[in-house]
């Protein structure tokens, strides 16, 4: 990490509670220009929630989030729109507009925010779909394509305005290994070539180590470990080792669900039924 480069994202003592459960508890980190930060952690540990705070669609209970040096937590809708034009976001579900075709989805930000002619826009849409490997799918509706394809269309849409900052929520889950490599390659080209900054949530360790310049591991609402890929790989923290090697037993509590289901005590596994039953309560 180059200490002289400017911090594009500054998250400071971010706390978010749902009810009385702190899903994010005192999270602080910075992301600098040109970095690719990978956020990892088990399902339901708050990765998507953390992204939502960084893009300003959720407000923290306490703490601050700065994008491009501007505090966004207190911003009015009109102000935050200006900031949002500078980044793209790929949602975990893709979040394509179901009433529009694939091509129209990618064209939407261009039509709304640029003065380009329809011909120019069509050209850009073609090019964006090509880089995610979806040439010729312009005229299909989102419900006519697979989940992995929706993700890639979502990525093309996030890149439509050539953002300087990209957030992706599990861009490669649901993709086959080859398509995963293609998407990783794309992220690398964008961050190396155009100095785009990327924040990527990922479960996929191969992919994470391929693209990351820095990694953060979340667990029980806070940062368990952070560092360069090498530091994480060689970390002495047993939770980190368990996660990156995908081992079933280790210090990470399987019963994330006990925390989760406070309001549904009856689904808590009974004592002595053992780990076999607890697996069923783990998030899919």
């Amino acid at each position: 990490m180059n200490p002289n480069s400017e911090a594009i994202i500054e998250v400071d003592h971010l706390v978010r509670r749902f009810g009385d459960r702190a899903v994010l508890d005192q999270i602080s980190f910075n992301v600098h220009r040109g970095e690719t930060l990978v956020i990892m952690g088990g399902s339901g540990c708050g990765k998507s929630t953390l992204l939502r705070h960084m893009i300003g669609s959720m407000k923290p209970t306490t703490g601050s989030v700065k994008l491009f040096g501007e505090e966004i937590t207190g911003m009015a809708e009109r102000e935050i729109e200006r900031v949002r034009l500078r980044f793209g976001m790929l949602f975990q579900s893709g979040a394509l507009l179901a009433s529009l075709t694939v091509g129209e989805n990618v064209a939407l930000p261009l039509f709304q925010h640029t003065k380009k002619s329809p011909d120019e826009i069509e050209q850009i849409v073609k090019q964006k779909l090509e880089i995610v490997g979806l040439t010729g799918f312009e005229d299909l509706k989102p419900d006519e394509i697979s989940g992995g394809m929706k993700k890639r269309v979502g990525l093309a849409r996030a890149l439509a305005l050539d953002p300087e900052l990209l957030f992706s929520d599990e861009p490669t889950s649901g993709l086959d290994p080859i398509m995963t490599a293609v998407v990783d390659e794309l992220t690398l080209n964008l961050t190396k070539g155009t100095h785009m900054t990327a924040v990527v949530v990922s479960h996929d360790m191969t992919s994470a180590f391929r693209i990351a310049t820095r990694m953060i591991m979340l667990g029980h609402g806070s940062i368990v470990a952070q560092g360069t890929p090498d530091e994480i790989r060689n970390s002495s923290n047993p939770e980190v080792q368990q996660f990156i090697h995908g081992r079933a037993d280790g210090p990470i509590p399987l019963n994330v669900s006990q925390e989760e289901h406070k309001d549904h005590q009856h689904v808590r596994p009974r004592p002595f039924l053992g780990a076999r039953f607890r697996f069923h309560h783990k998030h899919p």
């Binding site: 669609s57 729109e81 200006r82 034009l85 949602f91 579900s93 394509l96 179901a98 709304q112 849409r157």
Partner: protein, 252 residues
């Protein structure tokens, strides 16, 4: 969601609608025409067959009831008056609003609700596209045009229904029916109905959009919000109708 919060959301929606329709165009942010026409077809044109059937049945029913009551007074000649005035002032605007609530209001609530739970609305916001401007404004303008248009259309069909009864079962000929009907109605009867349907259009579409945009809790939440929006729109529309009738015809 608490009632207080829902009322607050509703008022906020109305304020931002006014902003996007009345103020934003002067700051260079025009609304696009194509989506409005798409919604006009969806909200208005596709509802036309149901409106026609409803209005025709109402016209027939009104004429039969009028015949029944007026014959005993020997006042059959006033049957067209009764059909005409009841249709223009009350039945036309109210019943066509009922059809549009059931068909188009519920569809809008369900569509926006589905977009809400599938993160589409959030995605719009993150792309710096205002959901009110992009989704609500075209539906609102389409409804404000199409409900009055459907009401006028329905009025004609209702009068046709009255004519069918008068000519086939009673001692009227076509010319007599038309002349009598035209003579009885004043322009104010038509205008009051139009004012009502403009107010109803506002009520229906804002309640439907607000319900959709505030859905919580997945597909089940969409269903609940849709049902709630239909019930609320019906109640609000009928109460408003009573108030407007009071103002138009009872206060002078």
């Amino acid at each position: 969601m608490s009632l207080e919060l829902r009322v607050k959301n509703y008022l906020q929606l109305n304020l931002s609608l006014l902003y996007w329709i009345l103020i934003a165009p002067f700051t260079g942010q025009f609304f696009k025409i194509a989506p409005i026409f798409r919604q006009m077809v969806f909200i208005g044109v596709r509802a036309a067959p149901m409106v026609a059937l409803t209005a025709f049945s109402v016209g027939v029913t009104l004429a039969m009831q009028a015949a029944h009551s007026l014959e005993s007074l020997g006042a059959e000649m006033y049957i067209p008056d009764l059909v005409m005035i009841t249709l223009l002032r009350e039945m036309g605007p109210v019943l066509i609003a009922v059809i549009v609530i059931g068909r188009s209001g519920s569809a809008v609530a369900a569509e926006l609700g589905t977009m809400k739970v599938s993160e589409e609305i959030e995605a719009l916001e993150v792309m710096a596209i205002n959901p009110i401007q992009y989704l609500v404004v075209p539906r609102f303008l389409a409804m404000m045009v199409m409900l009055p248009a459907l009401t006028i259309f329905g009025n004609y069909i209702g009068i046709l229904g009255g004519w069918a009864v008068c000519v086939s079962a009673l001692d009227f000929n076509t010319a007599g029916y038309v002349l009598r009907a035209l003579e009885s109605a004043e322009t104010w009867d038509l205008y009051s109905g139009m004012i009502k349907s403009v107010v109803f259009a506002w009520i229906i579409i804002t309640i439907a959009c607000n319900a959709g945009l505030n859905v919580e809790g997945g597909a089940e939440g969409v269903g609940q919000a849709t049902t709630a929006s239909v019930v609320e729109a019906l109640l609000a529309m009928l109460v408003t109708n009573a108030v407007l009738t009071g103002i138009f015809f009872f206060s002078a």
